[in-house]
Symmetry: C2
Subunit: 179 residues, 2 copies
């Protein structure tokens, strides 16, 4: 068991590194994600808000993030329905995080020393699309990662599902609805 | 001019401090904001996302924030319409920011040392409601700040408009639509 555990971690680690290198160097040619065939869902930016979060990558920048859901996903989040029904779609939008000197100046009056950070520019957009039959091998979810509206390559998309496995008890979804 | 400038800053500063103390110590009794009479708009949590941001208050906690807009506001943001038309409403939802050990563990594989922060709990919700006649004295905007669904007091609400004056060229709205 220990050896299998180590191998699994090694495989995921190598896949992660390879995916990161591939992501930095090139994209696939099509308009749908490799492995899963997920395209950018029309109108996803108008979906409702699930939650927001923030990432500080060690030496690789800072991000503000928002997760949006289509009507089926939002209904499931609100009602606590698990697994998510077929047709549920989740978008994760990642932006750079930049300090706002303008905000700091104003906020300094009621709250001296406050640091405000706002969105800089779009980094990438990720999607999870539920189809329990089509994506039976990956928990019922198809994955996609787009940068400049182009899908990342196969190596990148091979990392999606393994990273979501630890959230299996929440149907592979990390984000929780922000009330 | 210098004296007027100093006086203005002094008034805003004192108002800010008083408002903060009042906010910490008590709420008004009604279900609408003092001065403006703004109630919590029904269904605001389902409005579309304008943007997200983050605040680090000096010694007073950390927040993740999202701004949502009703259909009229979102259309104006997307089309760059200024001033915002009557009926536009903006909600600013403020949550505490907490580190996510679960996320860090997963993200550590592809990106060692990554720090992930997610939403803790709801702090307060603020609203801006556009009615150019009713709120002519405050740039056409009515303001409201609710904690636990109860509006803050008069002193708190006296600070809303002065803080938004520096954004006059964007019709008193700081948030910009995140694309």
């Amino acid at each position: 068991m220990k050896r299998i555990g180590f191998l699994l971690i090694a495989v995921v680690t190598v896949a992660g590194i390879v995916a990161h290198m591939a992501h930095a160097s090139g994209q696939s040619d099509g308009d749908s994600s490799p492995i899963y065939g997920v395209k950018i869902p029309a109108g996803y930016r108008d979906w409702q808000l699930i939650a927001v979060n923030q990432l500080l990558f060690a030496g690789k920048g800072e991000q503000l993030r928002a997760q949006l859901g289509n009507d089926i996903a939002i209904k499931a989040f609100k009602e606590g329905t698990l697994p998510f029904p077929d047709g549920a779609m989740i978008a994760a939008i990642h932006w750079t995080r930049v300090p706002s000197e303008a905000n700091n100046k104003v906020l300094d009056v009621p709250s001296p020393g406050t640091q405000s950070f706002v969105i800089g520019s779009l980094v990438n957009v990720q999607f999870m699309v539920k189809d329990s039959k089509k994506y039976a091998a990956t928990g019922g979810w198809g994955f996609a990662d787009f940068t400049d509206e182009k899908p990342g390559d196969k190596a990148l998309h091979e990392t999606c599902f393994p990273c979501h496995v630890p959230a299996k008890d929440r149907d592979y979804v990390y984000t929780q609805y922000a009330r």
